[in-house]
Amino acid sequence: MKIDKALIDYLEELSCLSLSEEEKIRLTGDLESILAAMDKLNELDTVGFQERNHPFDGVNSFREDIVLPSLERELVLQNAPQRNAEAFVVPKTVE
């Protein structure tokens, strides 16, 4: 895959980032080398290996449906950049 300016702009928007021109040029190089590393992995012969869903073996790690105490609200909100007495506060989101 070719990393061009249009793709970087698109990723910037999807990621809710705001990048300088300088950062975009640097990221283009970084992403290209990441993709090159992935291409290298693709050279491996995987014939005969079964596709895996997860890096760990094992299935069915469940929890029973039993209520445990929640976190105290003051602790939940403690590190919020902006808050009121009972909620996180964020800039107006328009629907």
């Binding site: 928007e13 890096p55 469940f62 209520v67 929640s70 939940v76 909620a87 996180f88």
Partner: protein, 477 residues
């Protein structure tokens, strides 16, 4: 519609009524004070890891079996990425590649008496998002994460609907199924069941048109109105030579129209990938068969049984099974009274009338079946008359009285005691010699008078048939 046909598919989100959330042990409860049912997992604090609630999987399989789906033997979760403040992790744990249920179907009844089969494309499990409260006064938004990680099933239909009536029939039956399975309380006003409608129009025989997705449909009525509006809007655009764009539109039920939602233009690129924090699920036949064996009787099965075993009419069976609370009440009254037909008459008559008059919804109905069964038995055994029965029922509805005390206090119990009747007649004849003479000389009116006097002596509790027979006999001798 000017030679167009409407094609619709539905995405229904149902909040599951588990005790805890899908990936943490916080209480899954509607209406708590903001941010009091939250923990590091459902607020996505760094390092917190999800652990899957087994009950959610069981509920999903229950619904899948009820909707004739294939159950995926090796199912797993995927990550759906987007930024929005109601989603603290900036991703939703959902299912894309191996949803728990696929290829199901549901049969719906059509208005013309026929039936139609609606395909169920898939059912998948996912976590709900938090709730945003917008404050117009200061341009701020408050975030409450109590709903974050509440378990959801998303039921995705095939694009098999061609009218609003079909959509409503499907939703009605789906709601009924969720309620009977006991997996969702289906309170639309609390958002525990939400429907999005995908709608496009086309000329018959043509390829599918460009679709719009409609959101914010909060009642069956709103859904029907939004469908009419959107179909008309799309046809108008096409008729004027315009082109439609694929978009998401928000329905405003007060204004009776929809508006395009602009906020998520690129949001369809969710960059799904397998969820690394959760292990896959492996479901064996034994487990599935165990769940199949424990499935409760569904509404349409109940209807058939009521008609066959109890001799109810299709109409009565339909009213009783429209909501699980009502059919549960009916079965309990019928069981305790041993009188299924009279119990059905009570539920479809007096109870429905009471609910209509007071505006009580089926989900909020709570009546003491034992008290009602007691009254059903009394009226069937002829121990109280129909008027007394209705009055006593009303007293149970409004004041929750003890029926045994109530009918006694009111003197409603019919006296079948022949001695008491004979004594009353004897007294009335002694007190009203003129009326007796009138009757004997052929004045029929006098009989009514004497009869009334006897009933009065018995305080209205005489069995009119028995009193009449006894009085005729005494006067004729």
């Amino acid at each position: 519609m000017k030679g167009y046909e409407v094609v619709m598919g539905l995405e229904v989100h149902a909040e599951l009524s588990t005790k805890t959330k899908i990936f943490c042990a916080c209480a899954n409860k509607f209406g708590g004070a903001p941010n009091t049912h939250v923990c590091p997992v459902c607020t996505a604090m760094p390092g917190a890891l999800p652990v899957f609630n087994r009950r959610v999987l069981e509920y999903a399989v229950r619904l899948g079996l009820a909707l004739n789906c294939d159950i995926t033997r090796c199912s797993k979760f995927d990550r759906k990425n987007y930024f929005y403040p109601d989603l603290p992790a900036a991703y939703q744990i959902s299912q894309l590649y191996a949803p728990i249920c696929k290829n199901g179907c549901m049969e719906i009844a059509l208005e013309d008496g026929g039936t139609k089969t609606i395909g169920i494309h898939q059912i998948h499990m996912e976590a709900d998002a938090g709730k945003l409260i917008h404050d117009p006064a200061n341009e701020q938004t408050y975030v409450d994460y109590n709903r974050s990680c509440v378990p959801l099933l998303e039921i995705v239909s095939e694009p098999d609907f061609s009218s609003a009536a079909q959509v409503i029939a499907y939703l009605t039956k789906l709601r009924e199924t969720l309620l009977y399975l006991g997996i969702c309380d289906c309170k639309m006003q609390e958002g525990s069941i939400r429907a999005d409608v995908n709608l496009s129009v086309r000329r018959p025989g043509e390829a599918l048109g460009v679709r719009a997705e409609m959101k914010n449909l909060n009642s069956f009525k709103a859904i029907a109105r939004a469908i009419e509006y959107e179909a008309a809007r799309q046809i108008e655009v096409l008729e004027k030579g315009g082109t439609l764009v694929q978009e998401t539109r928000r329905w405003d039920d007060n204004k009776g129209r929809s508006y395009p939602m602009r906020s998520k233009e690129n949001a369809n690129d969710y960059r799904y990938f397998p969820e690394p924090d959760l292990l896959p699920m492996q479901i064996d036949d034994q487990w599935i068969e165990g769940i199949r064996g424990s499935l409760p009787e569904l509404a349409h099965e109940k209807r058939a049984r009521y008609i066959k075993d109890f001799g109810l009419s299709e109409f009565e069976a339909g009213i009783i099974t429209a909501h699980k609370n009502i059919s549960d009440l009916f079965e309990e009254i019928a069981r305790q009274s041993g009188q299924a037909l009279e119990s059905a008459r009570l539920v479809t008559g007096e109870i429905m009338r009471m609910m209509n008059n007071t505006g009580i919804l089926p989900e909020d109905l709570s009546l003491d079946a034992g008290k009602l069964a007691y009254l059903v038995k009394l009226v069937i055994e002829g121990k109280i008359n129909r008027n007394s029965y209705k009055d006593a029922l009303n007293a149970v509805f409004t004041r929750n009285v003890q029926p045994a005390d109530y009918v006694k206090e009111k003197g409603y119990i019919i006296v079948n005691d022949t001695n008491a009747v004979a004594q009353a007649i004897e007294a009335v004849i002694a007190e009203n010699p003129n009326a007796v003479t009138d009757y004997k000389s052929g004045i029929q009116k006098a009989f009514g008078f004497l009869m009334g006097q006897v009933m009065q002596k018995l305080k209205g509790a005489g069995n009119p048939g028995a009193v009449k027979a006894a009085l005729t006999e005494v006067l004729g001798s």
